[in-house]
C-alpha cells in the first residue's frame, strides 16, 4: 500500500485533517503539497471570517445602504453560490442570519455589523454585480459559516489536484471531500458523539453534516438556541438530528445541509438540481 501523509491543524474553528496517499510521488513533494493545501484553507479563513473586521466578510457586514466594494474572487464565488442555493431552495439557505447568531451570543457582538436597526434579515439585500463586485441594497450581517468551510475544503483539494495528487481526503470538522479512490464514511450520532455510523463509501465527491445537537446552548431567558437558524422563521432548529448531504463539491454539500435542516424533503428538486443525496440520522 502507498505511504500516506496525514496532517491535522486547527483552522476554521475546528480540526482540519488532510491525508494523501503519495503513490509514486516523493514524500517531500507530497508534504509540500499538503502545506500548500493548508495555506489555501487559511486564506479562506482570512477572507471569510466573521470575527476579523478586515476580512472581506467584515467589510461587507459594515457596508452602508448603496455602498459597493470589490472582494477577492473566492469570496465572490462563495457569495454567488450562496445566492444560487438561496434561490434554488426558496430561501431555505440564507447566510444573512448572522445578526440572529450574534443575538444568541453564538457570534461576537454588534461592532461586526452595521447599524442594527436598518439591517436586512436576508442575504438578498446584497447584490452581486460584475465579477468581484458586490453592493449592499441595505446593510447586511452575513455569516458564511454554513458554506465557507466546505469551500475551504474544495480549495485545498484543488491545490492537491493541481500538483498531480490523485488520492486524498480533506476533512474540516466533518465537511469532507474525497479525491480519487473510495473511502469509508462515518457519521456521528446526534444524540451521542461517541456513537459512529458507517453510512457508505464515497469516491471523488463530498459529504457535509450539520446538526443542532452539538451547538445547542441555553440563553438566560431559558430559550434553547443553536448554530442552525431556520431562515423562514429566524428560530433555532433544535431537533436532535443530523443532516448530511453528499454532492460533487463540498461547498455545495455544506450549504445544502442547511436546506435539509430547514425542512426541505430529501426528494425535493433543490437536491436533484445539484445532483446531491441526503442522509438524516436521529
Amino acid at each position: 500500500m502507498d505511504a500516506e501523509v496525514s496532517r491535522c491543524r486547527p483552522l476554521l474553528g475546528t480540526f482540519v485533517e488532510i491525508s494523501v496517499r503519495s503513490g509514486s510521488q516523493p514524500h517531500e513533494r507530497v508534504a509540500a503539497a499538503v502545506s500548500s493545501a493548508f495555506a489555501a484553507i487559511a486564506k479562506v479563513q482570512q477572507l471569510m471570517s466573521f470575527h476579523e473586521r478586515g476580512s472581506d466578510l467584515g467589510r461587507i457586514n459594515r457596508l452602508s445602504a448603496g455602498e459597493c466594494i470589490s472582494v477577492h474572487p473566492w469570496t465572490w464565488e462563495v457569495l454567488n453560490l450562496a445566492k444560487d442555493i438561496h434561490q434554488a431552495s426558496d430561501g431555505r439557505f440564507d447566510c444573512g442570519v448572522g445578526w440572529r447568531l450574534a443575538e444568541w451570543g453564538l457570534l461576537p457582538g454588534r461592532d461586526c455589523c452595521s447599524d442594527r436597526d436598518s439591517i436586512s434579515t436576508s442575504q438578498t439585500a446584497l447584490h452581486m454585480l460584475d465579477e468581484n463586485l458586490v453592493r449592499a441594497g441595505a446593510p447586511v450581517c452575513l455569516d458564511l459559516g454554513g458554506i465557507a468551510k466546505g469551500y475551504a475544503v474544495d480549495r485545498a483539494v484543488d491545490v492537491l489536484r493541481t500538483v498531480g495528487i490523485q488520492d486524498a481526503i480533506v476533512n474540516a470538522g466533518g465537511d469532507i471531500r474525497v479525491l480519487g479512490a473510495e473511502r469509508p464514511i462515518h457519521l456521528r450520532h446526534p444524540a451521542d458523539a461517541s456513537v459512529l455510523w458507517y453510512v457508505g463509501t464515497l469516491a471523488d465527491g463530498a459529504i457535509a453534516t450539520s446538526s443542532p445537537a452539538f451547538s445547542t446552548r441555553y440563553l438566560d431567558s431559558g430559550q434553547r438556541v443553536c448554530g442552525l437558524v431556520d431562515p423562514m422563521t429566524y428560530e433555532p432548529i433544535t431537533q436532535c438530528r443530523s443532516y448530511s448531504v453528499v454532492a460533487a463539491d463540498c461547498a455545495t454539500a455544506d450549504a445544502l445541509t442547511k436546506v435539509l435542516a430547514a425542512g426541505a424533503p430529501s426528494d425535493s428538486c433543490v437536491f436533484r438540481r445539484y445532483g446531491a443525496r441526503t442522509v438524516v440520522v436521529q
Binding site: S6, R7, C8, R9, P10, G13, T14, F15, E17, S19, A31, I169, N171, G173, G174, D175, I176, V178, E182, R183, P184, I185, H186, L187, R188, P190, A191, A193, S194, V195, L196, W197, Y198, V199, G200, T201, L202, A203, D204, G205, A206, I207, A208, T209, S211, A213, F214, S215, S242, S244, V246, A247, A248, G275, R277, V279, V280, V281, Q282
Partner: protein, 181 residues
C-alpha cells in the same frame, strides 16, 4: 461523485440500534517528524524549562488552561527558534500538539501530533465483534483501524487555541532571550 450508501435503515431503527464504535487514537506526526516538518534540516537541542510559580500562574490566567505544563518537551533550534510539545483536553479527547516559534518570537506553525478520542467505554473486542455479525451497517467496520472519515459534530478547537496561547506566554516569560542554554 460516486456515493455508495449502505442499505438505508429506517430512522426508528437508527435511533435504537446499538452500533457503536470507539474511535481509536489518530497519530499524525511523531515529535521527530514534526520537528523536521517545521524546521527542516535544522538540529534541535532539547532545552527543558523550569517555571516559577509566578510564571505558571501567569500562563494559567492568560490561557485558562489548568493542567500542569511539562517543561521537558521544549527544544531550541540552531537559529534561535523553539519547538514545544504540549497537550490539551478537547471536548472529549486529549490532543497532543506541537508549536513552532520563530527566533523573533512569532508563531511559526501548529501541528496536531496525536488525537485521542476518550469516550470511555472500550468494549472487549470479541464480544464487540460478535454483536455485529451479519449487520449491514457494521459489516465493513474494521476493529483496531483508525476511523478517520467522520462527518458531523464539529469538534471545537477552542481548547487547542487556549493551549497555543499558553505556550506563547511561556515562551515570552521563560524562553525569549534564553539563547545557548
Amino acid at each position: 461523485m460516486r456515493w455508495t450508501p449502505v442499505a438505508i435503515i429506517p430512522l426508528a431503527a437508527l435511533a435504537g440500534a446499538p452500533v457503536t464504535v470507539c474511535a481509536a487514537t489518530k497519530v499524525f506526526l511523531s515529535v521527530e517528524q514534526a520537528q523536521q516538518a517545521m524546521f527542516p534540516g535544522q538540529a534541535l537541542k532539547q532545552s527543558p524549562v523550569f517555571l516559577t510559580e509566578a510564571q505558571s500562574d501567569a500562563m494559567r490566567s492568560a490561557s485558562s488552561v489548568r493542567h500542569p505544563f511539562r517543561g521537558d518537551r521544549v527544544w531550541q533550534t540552531s537559529d534561535g527558534g523553539w519547538f514545544v510539545v504540549d497537550e490539551v483536553l478537547g471536548k472529549h479527547e486529549m490532543i497532543t500538539y506541537a508549536v513552532g516559534i520563530n527566533s523573533d518570537g512569532s508563531l511559526r506553525q501548529i501541528e496536531v501530533l496525536e488525537y485521542r478520542e476518550s469516550y470511555g467505554y472500550q468494549v472487549a473486542e470479541p464480544i464487540w465483534r460478535q454483536q455485529f455479525v451479519g449487520k449491514t451497517a457494521a459489516s465493513t467496520l474494521k476493529l483496531g483501524e483508525d476511523i478517520k472519515n467522520i462527518s458531523g459534530a464539529t469538534l471545537s478547537c477552542k481548547h487547542l487555541t487556549d493551549g497555543v496561547k499558553r505556550v506563547m506566554v511561556m515562551h515570552q516569560l521563560a524562553l525569549r532571550g534564553a539563547v545557548g542554554r
